[in-house]
Symmetry: C2
Subunit: 247 residues, 2 copies
Amino acid sequence: MNKLYVVGIGPGAYEQMTIRAVNALQESDVIIGYTVYVDLVKEHFKGKEFMTTPMKKEVERCKIALEEAQKGKVVSMICSGDAGVYGMAGLILELKEAYEDVSVSIIPGVTAASAGAAVLGAPLIHDFAVISLSDLLTPWEKIERRLLAAAKADFAVCLYNPSSRKRHDYLEKACELMLNYKEEQTVCGIVSNIGREGEEMKIMTLKELKETKVDMFTTVFIGNSMTKEVSGSMVTPRGYRFDKETD
Amino acid sequence: MNKLYVVGIGPGAYEQMTIRAVNALQESDVIIGYTVYVDLVKEHFKGKEFMTTPMKKEVERCKIALEEAQKGKVVSMICSGDAGVYGMAGLILELKEAYEDVSVSIIPGVTAASAGAAVLGAPLIHDFAVISLSDLLTPWEKIERRLLAAAKADFAVCLYNPSSRKRHDYLEKACELMLNYKEEQTVCGIVSNIGREGEEMKIMTLKELKETKVDMFTTVFIGNSMTKEVSGSMVTPRGYRFDKETD
């Protein structure tokens, strides 16, 4: 067998998992993940062996998953959102080379960009860029370059990891940079605890976003030049036809 | 009730729907969508009323959905992938203003960027841009600007609508533009019929991609400068730490 599934479980609630993800977990002997996510799924998969490792121990966690699969167990490594967006899919595929007998399947899930957008309305209907503000593994200059490029080319932008204890002013810095090309009145939105208890959303301008403190469970959306607020929802139009028609 | 769900059904196969999406469709009296997507779900939701409209009739389709909900039926408007990524969520929210009694819920799904990435490996593990090559509603100059900006800032890029009968050379043009900033050897991948019969993937260089013809059921992935091929998978590393460590 030696099967390892890398499973995106979606934003949190069991209902946001795909049927394919549920099937993979049901088929598994062992479910491995970051403590918080294992706790989210535990009650729905009784009788499984659960293994957890704390945050920032990703390489270790992936190796444990591969070793358990090597032993002949069916293993699911779970990630929040999509396993392929800031998730473990890449690391597993890189490390897998040392575990010849293990076959890996990546099972995609609903990432925070999609899940958060649905709470706010439809901010990512058109071209968008996804950028993480975490500089743990990426030089800040590279992040800065991407923020500026996305703003200049009028992308809607979704920010992951907008804040942490050490990086409390990164969102402010990111907004400051984007204000070089985006208007102060650009429609923005934040969503925290997407699909979990305590889910909250707020729509505001880019100027207001710059002055807003968010935590690490928040996903941030910055509109493009056409994004608007429609009856309490953040909506980016599908295209620019109406624009062109009135030119 | 007057409930309208806008539901992302994922890339195609029933198993790629979320439980929440399945529940919404089960609760619905009417399921509305583009013919191809209605055909994909039909057999799993027996006894429902199905309504289809052809492609490019999106405004009409949304109005029908809102009118059916207005009548008191529970309605699901289905979109492939995620309802919020080039989907109907935005248009429904814009048109809804004229239908006061209808309450709209957006149910996110697995978009082609996530689903296609999982087939190829893990090309979107780090910051990425999603760009549609369709110039039906967007001026080509704007698309061009986004392609250049994304390439220059070293984003991994996912292209939707890379081709159509009228736009057979757009992917070539897009690659040509990105070659201004990305190396010819940049690792790229294409996936067609994601999660459906006839699913196919191929990994190639950006130079080869430029010379490749794809159809409208194909999603295209262009790596960043760190993306590599690992045992037949397209993998973008999570960050640049290893890079920095060897500097």
